[in-house]
């Protein structure tokens, strides 16, 4: 590797710069990890303990706070809602997106490019700024304050990038696959479901992470569409919770831990896929 650092051969200024860079990288690492560790430790303390000894280990590792936040703070409910909304939206997105990509990539016809571009037209534009007509539309459809509204809007929002990524992958597969399957008497949906879809599985993983994380984290659309507390997703529920327990820092840190730690666990298991998936839009 040509680019490798050559510390030994470097002169004094080079060495100083090298050390400075190492310090910089290490500082940011600490700056990421320390607040997270502190958050986790604080989640076992009482509020008084957080204020009196903010740096110390908790006196005991009680799970009281977690129980309170989960049940009284309704994080159990919010978490379930988030899982349902993200899961359903992704199912819809993956199904319709892969079908559309199949219809675009595996057939040659006149409107092919036009359809592709129609899908892509939504890719870079922020839908947030069109939330008023979206709100009025959902109101007219009687979908305001329903989980369905979120599922449909998230699926629609994810489709442009899904179609983009999957079409790219599907175009790379040889046409002989479809032809051979057709000769063997395979139907068109059969070619889609049994031949092409299994071959783009790695791309499906990328698409899933690329879209599911922003959906899971989204706050804006639930804020506008959802009123009833029973339907709130985790980010929106958190704002309710933070309003209610403003001064109870023990519970606030616990709430944050419940929101953040599962993400870290998931990331540690799948960090390669996370990095690849989330940067998919920015890397060719």
């Amino acid at each position: 590797m040509i680019l490798r650092m050559r510390f030994r051969e470097a002169g004094l200024p080079g060495k100083t710069l090298y050390l400075f860079f190492e310090l910089l990288l290490a500082t940011y690492t600490v700056l990421i990890l320390l607040p997270l560790v502190n958050m986790f430790l604080s989640s076992f303390k009482s509020t008084r303990e957080i204020f009196s000894s903010p740096y110390a280990l908790p006196r005991e590792f009680r799970l009281d706070n977690y129980l309170q936040v989960w049940v009284r703070g309704r994080f159990g409910r919010y978490m379930l809602n988030s899982i349902a909304v993200t899961g359903l939206a992704m199912l819809l997105d993956l199904l319709l997106g892969s079908m559309a990509a199949f219809g675009i990539a595996r057939y040659r016809y006149r409107l092919n490019t036009a359809i592709y571009l129609l899908f892509l037209s939504g890719i870079m534009l922020p839908l947030k700024a069109a939330v008023i007509p979206l709100f009025l539309l959902l109101k007219r459809l009687g979908l305001l304050n329903t989980t369905t509204s979120l599922v449909l809007v998230y699926a629609a929002m994810s489709l442009p990038s899904t179609v983009f990524i999957l079409t790219g992958f599907m175009r790379g597969l040889p046409q002989d696959l479809d032809d051979a399957a057709r000769i063997d008497g395979c139907s068109e949906p059969g070619i889609y479901w049994r031949v092409i879809l299994p071959l783009v599985r790695p791309a499906l993983a990328i698409v899933t992470i690329y879209n599911a994380i922003p959906i899971w984290n989204d706050f804006f659309f639930p804020l506008v569409f959802i009123q009833s507390d029973d339907l709130k997703t985790l980010p929106l529920g958190m704002t309710v919770f933070f309003g209610q327990y403003q001064t109870n820092w023990a519970l606030l840190f616990t709430g944050l831990s419940i929101a953040i730690l599962p993400m870290i666990a998931l990331y540690l298991m799948l960090s390669k896929q996370f990095i690849q998936g989330l940067t998919a839009g920015a890397i060719k």
């Binding site: 990288l25 990421i32 319709l96 870079m124 007509p133 539309l137 960090s271 890397i283």
Partner: protein
């Protein structure tokens, strides 16, 4: 048309139309309608007379919209500049160092990306607690190590609030440009780097003359994403300062202003859908124009590989 063709076209329709319907109904139609809505006067959620560009005129020249609007745009520009200067340049340096396999690069690579997967809401609240002027750990630590003068009211001071929120956002997002630039540098063909080394290029020359021009595509995409992100800042402000972009509108952005106008939290307390839509359209146009321009400008400097 032959029977087989009809059959084939029906299948194409079957595959493509459901997705197209969803995108058409929930993306393209609302985008189009917000343009239409901005040209009408509204009473609550009832559409009234056609007023042409009046709503836009209001944003640009009528009090208090004009004052709020330009204040917000200025803050959005501060977001863009601050993020470019601090986050993206640091990301470029970090990406370069990781590509050079500096000691511990594997660890940095995976740790830096951790906050990227967090929600803005969680990150915002976490730092709101840490940055609390009296009780937060930041100021307590500063006081304890003898830097009492630096223990400021981070989120309560009109001059500090925006930079502080930008810093928190950079804390969350720095790993993203870092890894995008790292991937960009890694995809440079070995021959290019080898040739430069044989020509006796040092690290400095290598970076500016070889690597920098060759990763222009990554720089373009990061710049465009930063522009889009900067013009759409909303959650960060909502969580850390509230809808009004306090203190004294010092953190107000187009996103928060848009929300207040559209859902009735500005001055009168009544939703102003016409003016809100006009602000929405401005956000679109700015996003669109800015990313178009920066893409073209940076493309021009891209090197064919």
């Amino acid at each position: 048309m032959t029977n087989r063709n009809v059959h084939r076209n029906l299948w194409i329709g079957f595959f493509v139309l459901p997705g197209l319907f969803l995108v058409g109904l929930f993306i393209i139609l609302p985008l189009f309608l917000s343009l239409v809505n901005s040209a009408f006067a509204w009473e609550g959620i009832e559409r009234r007379a056609f007023v042409g560009l009046d709503n836009f005129a209001s944003i640009f020249s009528r009090f208090p919209y004009q004052k709020r609007f330009f204040n917000a745009v200025r803050n959005n520009l501060v977001w863009f500049t601050g993020t470019m200067l601090l986050q993206n340049s640091t990301g470029l340096l970090f990406g370069f160092l990781i590509s050079k396999r500096i000691r511990g690069y594997r660890l940095y690579k995976s740790v830096f990306f951790i906050p990227v997967i967090f929600s803005i809401v969680a990150v915002g609240f976490l730092w709101t607690l840490y940055l609390n002027p009296q009780l937060g750990i930041v100021n307590r630590t500063l006081k304890e190590i003898g830097l009492k003068r630096l223990a400021l009211s981070w989120l309560g001071d009109t001059r500090l609030a925006t930079p502080t929120i930008i810093a928190v956002n950079i804390w969350r997002w720095l790993g993203f440009p870092t890894l995008v630039f790292h991937a960009g540098i890694n995809s440079i063909p070995e021959e290019n780097l080898e040739a430069a080394t044989l020509d006796g290029a040092g690290d400095w020359t290598m970076f500016w003359r070889v690597i920098f021009p060759l990763i222009m595509p990554s720089i373009t995409i990061i710049t465009v994403l930063t522009l889009i992100g900067s013009f759409n800042v909303f959650e960060q402000i909502y969580v850390m300062e509230g809808l009004a972009g306090g203190p004294y509108y010092s953190t107000d952005t187009l996103g928060t202003l848009f929300y207040r106008t559209a859902f009735g939290a500005v001055d009168t307390g009544i939703p102003q859908i016409g003016i809100g839509s006009a602000i929405g359209v401005v956000i679109y146009l700015l996003t669109f124009a800015a990313s178009g321009i920066s893409a073209v400008m940076l493309r021009r400097r891209e090197v064919e590989m």
